[in-house]
């Protein structure tokens, strides 16, 4: 699942699609946390707690990313990541 996200992140040119892939990677990590916590350290709850935090932060982060993308779209009418190269040297 993480590799799917990574693949999407590296190959999709649409920023919304990249954001979706990013969410996919994040969720993969969350899943890993929960599962490893459950099977390796059944008595502890840290993995669960981390996951909850990560989900909360991911929501905020998604909102932020969407806002950025909307702003970019407003100013250049384009969200293709290959065209957005004004930050080069």
């Amino acid at each position: 699942m993480f590799c799917c996200g990574l693949y999407g992140f590296l190959t999709r040119r649409n920023m919304i699609a990249m954001l979706v892939s990013l969410e996919l990677m994040l969720n993969a990590v969350d899943m890993n946390f929960v599962i490893f916590n459950r099977f390796l350290f059944p008595g502890a709850m840290e993995g669960m707690m981390f996951t909850l935090f990560a989900i909360g932060i991911a929501a905020a982060e998604t909102a932020l990313a969407i806002a950025i993308i909307i702003n970019i779209f407003r100013s250049v009418h384009n969200i293709d990541v290959r065209e957005l190269n004004q930050m080069k040297f």
Binding site: L6, F9, L10, V81, R82, L84, N85, Q86, K88, F89
Partner: protein
């Protein structure tokens, strides 16, 4: 004696400098000039009072019961304290020569202040640009020169020595829009600065081995005891070795440290007093205004070298070789300058070379002075000549200034036959010429005669040599005199009115100085100044045979000049054509300037500076440049990595992370 008056003598000129320098622009020209002159007049009165008090009041601090004049330190305050032993003080020392110099400096300075009120304006009475600045600099010079002569220690002297050099530089370059004046001022500064390096090393050497800067300690303690501390007996190899091993008496390159110190100090004096081979700046210094030449480059600053040797004379007496060097340098310079003066056409240049020659007379006189000959007659004669020369040479320069002001040129070929037009200038100039030629009863006769007498006591060859110089002195001065005032009728240039005598501000100083020149010879100078302070009756030692001979020499020279130059004739041209090579060499001052140009430009600039500049430009700058170039190239090479493609960054990050992870795993395994 109270402290107030000596402090005022130094403070008034300093205050005038600051005041005129800062506020001069705000006040009118005449007010600035008058204030400067009045300030100097006050200093004149105070200095006369001080000198009179010193010589004639008979107070116990100035003269002891045996009638010897004493050195008296009026005040001496610590100025800089570096360590316990290295302390620099500023003070006020009164002794016969400093009291005499106070009189000389203030007299000439006051005359020049007064004279400049008339000189520094054009024919319509409009003041020259920078008139206030001129007076400010004159005050600075007077302050520095007064500080120099009353110095209580050699370091104070050095400080004021540099200050007079700086004010001389400022005044030579007064017409700073003229390139020749600018280069002359730079030349004067650099040449004297070069000599001052020797002076500084001499001071440091001397004070290192004696542990003191004070003149009173250097010259008044029992001289024999001081001599042992740094003199090596060179008579046998054993004594030399003993001197070196004891450490107290090091020797360097075959001469004792004392000799080195004294010779190096004399080098400083040579620079200021324009002795060969450091004389080249003085003729060029004539680019400054003529009153400045009279004050600085004839009467006061250029005799600082003589004054320095006279001040340290007891030390010089300990080291015969140093005095011999003084004599030889003086004798050669005197002769050289006299020869050159015979051929110059610029009247100020003639007077400049005459000054060099006369100062060299004083140096010779100091060099031949020994206590065993006529109780150190040479020392007294030197100081006497310094005094009389200051008066009559200032007179001659001021007279030349009046001529230049009237004619508008320095060149005597434009003057000729001025005696009817400018009677006051004519008569005062004639008195000056008679004095420098050494005709009785003018002051130059007495002082020059004593120098010749002292030289005769020392060595007959020095005597003959100096008599020859005296002959040439009389000749070139009267050559100048006849060419200016006789030769042929004056032709008034078209568009100019006939030359005439100058306003009272310029005539009065001439008349006063001429009067001093007439009577100064009768001052019983030996009673006032002598090498050890004991009164000395020089009339008792007056040698009529030498006096007669020198009088005959002077009269013969004047007659020769009369024959050659009184009326326009072909004789001078014939003589010139008879010895073309000699004349050309003398006219070009024996190519000293060219020699210096060759040494500095061709040898120093060409062989030393140019390789150094190449090294700097290519090696040092090249290293620095290559750092920059390498950095630049490297950054250009890695620049494409920042492509703006976000996904490329992610790729790189991923690869990096995987690599790090791989390495970590490898390390853990």
């Amino acid at each position: 004696m109270s402290v107030t008056i000596p402090i005022l003598i130094l403070a008034i000129p300093l205050f005038m400098f600051i005041f005129l320098g800062l506020c001069g622009k705000k006040m009118s020209h005449l007010l600035a000039g008058t204030l400067g002159t009045l300030g100097m007049g006050t200093v004149l009165v105070l200095a006369y009072y001080t000198a009179f008090n010193y010589f004639f009041s008979g107070q116990a601090c100035f003269i002891n019961e045996a009638g010897e004049r004493l050195q008296h330190v009026i005040f001496n305050t610590t100025w800089l304290q570096f360590t316990d032993s290295l302390v620099i003080k500023l003070g006020f020392l009164l002794d016969p020569i400093s009291a005499m110099m106070l009189v000389v400096i203030t007299t000439i300075s006051f005359m020049v202040h007064l004279y400049s009120l008339g000189y520094m304006r054009d024919h319509h009475g409009v003041f020259e640009k920078g008139f206030q600045r001129f007076y400010a600099f004159l005050s600075l010079f007077s302050f520095s020169m007064l500080g120099l002569v009353v110095a209580t220690n050699i370091f104070q002297m050095y400080i004021f020595w540099e200050l007079v050099g700086a004010s001389s530089y400022l005044l030579i370059g007064f017409y700073y829009t003229k390139p020749s004046a600018v280069s002359a001022s730079k030349k004067a500064f650099i040449v004297t600065r070069f000599a001052d390096l020797g002076f500084l090393i001499g001071i440091l050497t001397l004070s290192y081995y004696t542990g003191t800067f004070n003149f009173t300690d250097l010259t008044s303690v029992p001289v024999e005891g001081l001599a042992d501390t740094f003199r090596v007996d060179l008579s046998t190899p054993e004594t030399v070795l003993a001197g070196i091993s004891s450490g107290a008496a090091p020797i360097f390159m075959g001469a004792s440290v004392l000799t080195w110190a004294l010779v190096l100090i004399f080098v400083g004096g040579m620079g200021k007093s324009a002795m060969l081979p450091l004389h080249i700046w003085l003729p060029d210094a004539m680019e400054g205004p003529t009153p400045v030449s009279a004050l600085i480059h004839a009467a006061t600053m250029v005799v600082a070298g003589v004054y320095l040797v006279a001040r340290l004379f007891p030390l010089y007496l300990m080291e015969n070789s140093a005095l011999v060097i003084v004599t030889v340098v003086g004798a050669i310079t005197a002769f050289y300058a006299a020869v050159v003066a015979c051929t110059q056409v610029d009247i100020k240049r003639v007077l400049a070379f005459s000054t060099i020659s006369q100062i060299a007379f004083m140096m010779v006189s100091l060099g031949v002075a020994r206590p065993e000959y006529h109780e150190g007659l040479g020392y007294m004669a030197s100081m006497f000549h310094l005094f009389t020369h200051a008066m009559f040479k200032a007179l001659l320069f001021l007279g030349a200034g009046a001529l230049i002001h009237a004619i508008g040129s320095n060149d005597y070929t434009e003057m000729h036959g001025l005696r009817k037009y400018m009677p006051i200038t004519h008569w005062t100039f004639l008195i000056g010429c008679l004095a420098i030629a050494g005709i009785i009863p003018f002051s130059g006769f007495f002082s020059k005669d004593e120098i010749l007498s002292a030289a005769g006591n020392y060595s007959v060859w020095v005597y003959i040599w100096m008599s020859l110089v005296a002959f040439m002195t009389a000749f070139y001065m009267f050559r100048l005199y006849y060419l200016i005032f006789w030769w042929k009728e004056h032709t008034v240039r078209e568009g100019h009115h006939a030359p005439h005598d100058q306003p009272w501000t310029m005539s009065v100083p001439l008349i006063i100085l001429a009067a001093i020149t007439c009577v100064a010879g009768f001052i019983p100078f030996g009673n006032l100044v002598s090498w050890n302070g004991e009164p000395y009756d020089f009339m008792a030692h007056f040698d009529w045979s030498i006096a007669t001979v020198s009088l005959i020499v002077a009269v013969a020279a004047i007659l020769l000049a009369t024959v050659m130059y009184r009326k326009e004739n072909k004789l001078p041209a014939k003589m010139k054509n008879a010895m073309p090579a000699l004349w050309r060499w003398a006219f070009h001052r024996f190519y000293w300037d060219e020699l210096y140009m060759f040494i500095t430009h061709k040898i120093i600039f060409g062989c030393v500076c140019r390789p150094l500049a190449w090294f700097d430009r290519h090696i040092i700058d090249g290293t620095m440049d290559s750092f920059a170039i390498v950095t630049n190239k490297a950054s250009n090479a890695i620049k494409p990595l920042q492509s703006g493609q976000v996904q490329m960054y992610v790729w790189l990050y991923l690869i990096g992370a995987l690599l790090l992870g791989g390495i970590t795993i490898l390390c853990l395994i």
